[in-house]
Symmetry: C2
Subunit: 157 residues, 2 copies
DNA sequence: AATGAAACTGATAATCATTTTCACTTATTT
DNA sequence: AAATAAGTGAAAATGATTATCAGTTTCATT
C-alpha cells in the first residue's frame, strides 16, 4: 500500500534498526505534512496527533528518515533545519522570499549542466550542490508598492 | 595609504562608531589573513600577535567589518561562519572539497545570467544568491586513487 | 584640565538548535 | 524465561553566537 513506508521498513531491516511505534507516527506526520517544516513544527504536529513523544525522539527519527533517503534536510543559514520530501522527487533548488519566507521550488537544467561543466573545468568530482536565490516574491513586492503609494497619498493630504 | 582602513575609518565615523585599538588590530589581522577563516582562527591570530583581546570583541569587530562591506560571512552549513574579503572583490561562488576543505572560487557569468532569468520568470526580485558545489578536489581524488592501488597491491602479495 | 555622557571592552552568562547521556522500557534472540 | 540489543524520554551537555554588565576609554563641553 504505502510504498514509502515499505521502503522505510526495508531500510531499517537492512540496517538492523527496529521499526518502533514512535518512528511510525513520526514518518506518518512527515509524509502528510507541508513542505519545508522545522523540527519544532514537526514535533508540534506529532504532539497534537499522538502526544507523549520526546523532542529527542523526533530528532532521531528525522535523522533516520534522512539517512533512508526519504527526507532531505535543508539549511537556509538561519540556524533552523527544515525537512522536505526526497523519496521519488527529482532534485530542485529554491527561490526564497526574505519577507514572507515563501519557498518556490525550481529546477533549471541549463544551470545544472553549467554546474557540471564548471566542476569538470576545475577537475572537481561533484557530489552535490546547493543553490538558493533570495529575494522578494511577487506578492511581497506588490504589498510593498501598495504601502508606498499609501504613504505618498498621506503626504499629499 | 591603506585605502581599506581609510574606508573603514570613514564608515565608523559616519555611523558614530569609535575606532579603537582592538578594532584596528582585528582589521589588520583580517586584511592579512588567508581566505575563509573562522572566528576561532581569527581569534587565534589576533591572540598570537597582540593577546589580551576577548573572544566577544572579535565577534563584534568581525560583525562590524561585515557591516562596513569589507568582509562577508559565508555559511557552508557546518555551523561555523567563515569570513572572506569583500572590499573591491567581485562576487564569486565556491567549489568546496568535502575531503580536505579546500575552497575554489568561481564565477560563471552564464549561470549568473540564468539565475537572473529564473528569478524574473517567477516574478522574484533577486537580492542575493548562494551557490556552493561540493565534491572532491583533484588532489583528493588522486590521493584516493593512489591508496586504492596500494590496497590492490597489498592484496596481490 | 576637569567632568559627564557615550561608546567600548572583556569576562561571563544567556540563548538556541542539536546531540549525548543514562536509567528505564520494549523487542528480539537464545 | 533469560539474556541481549535497541529504543525512549527527560535532562544534561555541547558549541556557536549574542547579551549583559561593571569597569575602562574616548569625546565633547565647560
Ligand atoms: Mn523544496
Ligand atoms: Mn571565497
Ligand atoms: Zn514573499
Ligand atoms: Zn580536497
Amino acid at each position: 500500500m504505502n510504498s514509502i513506508k515499505q521502503f522505510y521498513k526495508q531500510y531499517l531491516q537492512n540496517n538492523k534498526i527496529r521499526y518502533s511505534a514512535q518512528r511510525d507516527k513520526i514518518l506518518d506526520v512527515f509524509l502528510n505534512m507541508e513542505r519545508h517544516l522545522s523540527i519544532a513544527q514537526i514535533y508540534e504536529l506529532v504532539r497534537n496527533k499522538y502526544s507523549h513523544i520526546g523532542y529527542a525522539t523526533v530528532y532521531r527519527a528525522m535523522n533516520l528518515i534522512c539517512k533512508a533517503g526519504i527526507a532531505e534536510k535543508i539549511d537556509l543559514g538561519d540556524g533552523i533545519s527544515r525537512f522536505e520530501h526526497k523519496y521519488g522527487q527529482e532534485h530542485h533548488d529554491h527561490l526564497i522570499c526574505v519577507n514572507c519566507g515563501k519557498f518556490i521550488e525550481v529546477i533549471d537544467t541549463q544551470i545544472e549542466e553549467l554546474q557540471r561543466q564548471l566542476a569538470k573545468a576545475h577537475k572537481f568530482v561533484l557530489k552535490r550542490h546547493k543553490m538558493q536565490l533570495f529575494g522578494s516574491c511577487c506578492d511581497c513586492v506588490k504589498a510593498a508598492k501598495q504601502s508606498l503609494s499609501v504613504l505618498a497619498k498621506d503626504k499629499q493630504d
